[in-house]
Symmetry: D3
Subunit: 244 residues, 6 copies
């Protein structure tokens, strides 16, 4: 059997985003033996930790807790994780932060990139992370950009599903079958105890996207009743040798 090729890079605004929205894709890559790396620009310490703030935790306590939870979730998926601690709510684009992301691209040399969609009226950090992920990808492709490593190729970029898809102009273009790794995704979600209501929410979403996958795949394909899926959008055209 040949060595699995390629690496997956996930650029996430906050510590938990990659779990709810892309854990299936991450686990699939890891199970294929590929390198999977999650880059969290912030811990989500201000904007996505309401319960901890209400419990009176300090900023440092919250960051430490979010970090630990995200590390556990990444481990459950078989992924590496790195935190840039850029500060959330608001997450701001700076040249230094973009440069750090460029260096990650150059080091990981991903064949697939996942990030947030570019529109989210409920959370400005998500589009900010996406804009930086996209800009850094283009910069990393330039031989003239002063960062270590080889110029990047042209890895495809997929936007994962936001919490309120219709409000974010999110239209599923790719339905990824995650049935075989769904239990792993569920375990990763359970590493985030502060957002327990999300466990069922994203389990239900996986079911619905699974129903949609089956409907689009056709009734004759013999997909199991409990098919689970994640939805994605593409930024760039798909390159393929066969229409299917």
């Amino acid at each position: 059997m040949t060595e699995p090729e390629g690496a997956l890079l996930v650029v996430s605004a906050h510590a938990g985003d990659f779990v709810w929205r892309a854990a299936g894709a991450i686990a699939l890559a890891a199970e294929r033996g590929q390198r999977a790396k999650v880059l969290c620009l912030t811990y989500g310490e201000r904007g996505e930790s309401a319960r901890a703030w209400r419990e009176g935790k300090s900023l440092e306590q919250i960051k430490a807790q979010r970090r630990e939870e995200a590390e556990n979730a990444a481990a459950a998926l078989g992924a590496e994780i790195e935190f840039l601690d850029a500060g959330d709510y608001p997450l701001r684009q700076t040249d230094e932060l973009v440069d750090r992301i460029v260096r990650v691209y150059r080091e990981v040399d991903p064949t697939v990139v996942l990030t947030h969609p570019l529109t989210d009226p409920y959370n400005g950090d998500h589009p900010a992370a996406a804009r930086m992920a996209l800009e850094a990808r283009v910069l990393a492709q330039a031989i003239g950009y002063p960062a270590p490593g080889e110029p990047l190729g042209a890895p495809p970029v997929f936007f994962f599903e936001p919490h309120q898809p219709e409000m974010c102009d999110f239209k599923p273009q790719v339905l990824l079958d995650i049935t075989s790794v769904f239990e792993r995704k569920r375990r990763a979600m359970e590493c985030l105890p502060a957002q327990q209501h999300m466990w069922d929410y994203y389990t239900d979403l996986a079911k619905r996207r699974g129903v949609q996958l089956k409907r689009n795949a056709g009734p004759n394909l013999g997909l199991p009743h409990d098919t689970r899926a994640e939805a994605y959008m593409r930024l760039y055209p798909q390159v393929t040798g066969e229409l299917s």
Copy 2:
């Protein structure tokens, strides 16, 4: 080696459309050993035969000539071809015509469908053909629709590239590598002598889409200098087991 699965169905308004815009996809399917069937709703006898009219040919002569050329082109690609002779300029939707297309779907049982985009301000027959192709596909899926054969699955639909893509809201979503069959596409084009200026036009387009394919695939993939491609849009979400 396993038997190639699936069949390709191309629904085309006029006799020549499938050659310029989808010959690569057809030849690839045929070379894989799949069944490839082209369904021409009309011969393009009024709207796309200007030279023949100027030469004073009769309507029946023009239809016979277009039919023969299209049959030659289909043969060069390894595809079957059927003509419904529904009359062009204008091509009109009728229940009877849609029913005939439903029966073709049921008989061919395609796993991939190709047709025109839904917008074309320069040629109303193209969107009309696309609307019928889409409606017939949905009808063929219903067990209650009174036509012979089994209900259709849910084959993906791809729109091939129109002549003036920007004016037809055509944005390439899939770039299909047709390098290995491009000579075959060229030969099919040469079966249509009345539109000789199109041979080079679509050869150039294949080069440009090839350049775009390479740019989106990344410089590291080792694609040949003379990569040739065709561009497509999807109507429905892609169903996949791996992001790539």
Copy 3:
């Protein structure tokens, strides 16, 4: 207490559509004492009765069964129901059918109209019903249109949520709180035994839209934990005396 004013008219392509997508709005109108009328253009006998066809039922049996189920559901919601039996898959626009809908408008004189969205790549009957509902509404407004009754006012039109919202360009613009009538909606759904898997599907959807309603209403409003909602789009501008 004053007499409740106005009437609700729901124009539905098939016999079951109004239950899954608009039962909450219908039940709310009925509980306010308003007249609520459902107009089913077809029984959905070919396109939405797959199980019955597989069981070998005849066309007339299927139509009778669908009719009875829909009558039961309408009764559970406190609504009238009328069937035009126009034939589905495909549902075709005809002048006669539009004229019949105009007459219903003139007779009911609705203050609110509900129908399908104008786009649905999975089911052409839905947009066809919507186009006729909209055209008939405009015709019914004209004093010169030859039908009995007074010219219609300008009732607002709401599109109810389709089965795959993102694929139908459906973006929730109005979230209707149906918590107080949700049990009634559930009972209406249970009148449609052939589509039992839909009961939970639309119960889950009501929960999700309820979560979204609470998120958009703000955490301070004291909405109950089990808020249930339906989503709608507007075709025309809202007319109001107060922004809220």
Copy 4:
């Protein structure tokens, strides 16, 4: 009679914007007894004071004059007004400015927010103000954001009508009946003597939007001949207990 609830917050790029575009909504809120607060990010001293510059006034003179006029207009409407003097042409987003807006949100605790649309090819300050108003609203909702006061709820946001609506992708979604307060709006406009040609322009606009309101409300509603209206767009879905 119960105490009127809620407060209205208007975030305006320049000193005069709130008068032309939202004075009706402000006066309606004030007449209902609600708190209405206008937040002017700048005085419009460079970009919207051409006449004063041509008259040779100094920057400080212009700012003082614009301030006084805007204070008079706000008083005529029954509203509070505050100026952040952030500098216009260009108005720039800074973390400090956004933080000041967050603090206003936390203090006012608005139930309705009005601001500019997000697109305006004729004036970049307008979208800049809107982006800050929206970002500050999201930040103010987070318990972890370090500003005094309680986390904000989720007040709906309305975009008021720009000067060239079609060029700003502005489509009226809400038509607000301001007939009862139109004289008040006219008096507020007359507090801005340097832009006298706008008095009639926005009086005409109120008439046209009033005609449109009547057309969308239906001929039977008995609205007066001189109905006046303002047009708005929504950013978030409407939350309601009744479709109307």
Copy 5:
């Protein structure tokens, strides 16, 4: 001085549309000495003659009255007018009606075509007329289409401004200076006494579009204070030898 070249063809759903929306363009063409022809598909006897119906007029009386008024307006503009009497509310596309329009194209050989926009949620006859005008234009270009005369060139198509532009996706792309012929437009409007309120409405619109024209032309161009304009959209790209 050279002979003015070209002809203007206006395809209008009802008898009055060309006056309110395109009288300026028509008068300009006529003053340049060009042929200007108005083709009214219907008299607007049902949908746009509410007052006459309320006065108890018969269908034939209404059609005669509308015809006479439109003839007077066309004469005031220096244009020919022809009526196809296809029946309005609803205006239906038929092959025969399209064929009649094709023959008008072939006879007039227009260098500019004006018609309605393709979207109008308030009046389905307008888009129906536009679709037929566009289809007939394409058919008239085909040498193979069986109608007398030479194949048409490729005259540009302009959509004139609908009554509620924002609701019809109408964005002004061309602002036509009609100052020199505005009095003529006013006289043509006054030929339509049943819609007297429209005289001022469209006079005001001409002022507003004139203000917008001046704003887009720049303050230095010395345009008069009372500049009057009409707004149009293009369907096809502009062809030019100079950017301006």
Copy 6:
């Protein structure tokens, strides 16, 4: 013969952009005797000089080489050129840079402005340059903006064609006939030896846009077989005295 009026200003992100995409428009202006000025915000030293980096050139060498090449190309077209050396990959908006562009506007007083489209997923510098060009144009119009010279008029803005038009939402709205100056454009392209493959690419594009121009101009206009064209989009409405 009257003095040619007006000046052309081209705002370009990198040193070569104006050649590939707008050389025809520049040469046409120069041949009419108008002033044509190219403003290059950067040399494209990092992002568009891959070959030079691979050859081991230093940053300063690359900038000098790009400058010289662009100066030669501008000279071949009869245009002035100025470089702001703002640094590319990424090109960042700063108040100082925008101010410098404002001063160029005030000095040149252009009657036509050309720049990049606002969307480009392959190159963030292009939209950044466009945003600055547009903002500076608006600032330069304000008498209150503190820069030397008279306030700008309202010159129309045209976006020139990007490298992958469909991916940049670029739809040709204006097709400019550059046949008479194409040889000059070719010579200008040949001043950029590092991108030799682009010479043929943009020669082919000029042919294709020429074919499109002829198709939209109509077959009767007698345009030569080798018509060459460039495509543009407009940001603002066209102002005209005649539809054509």
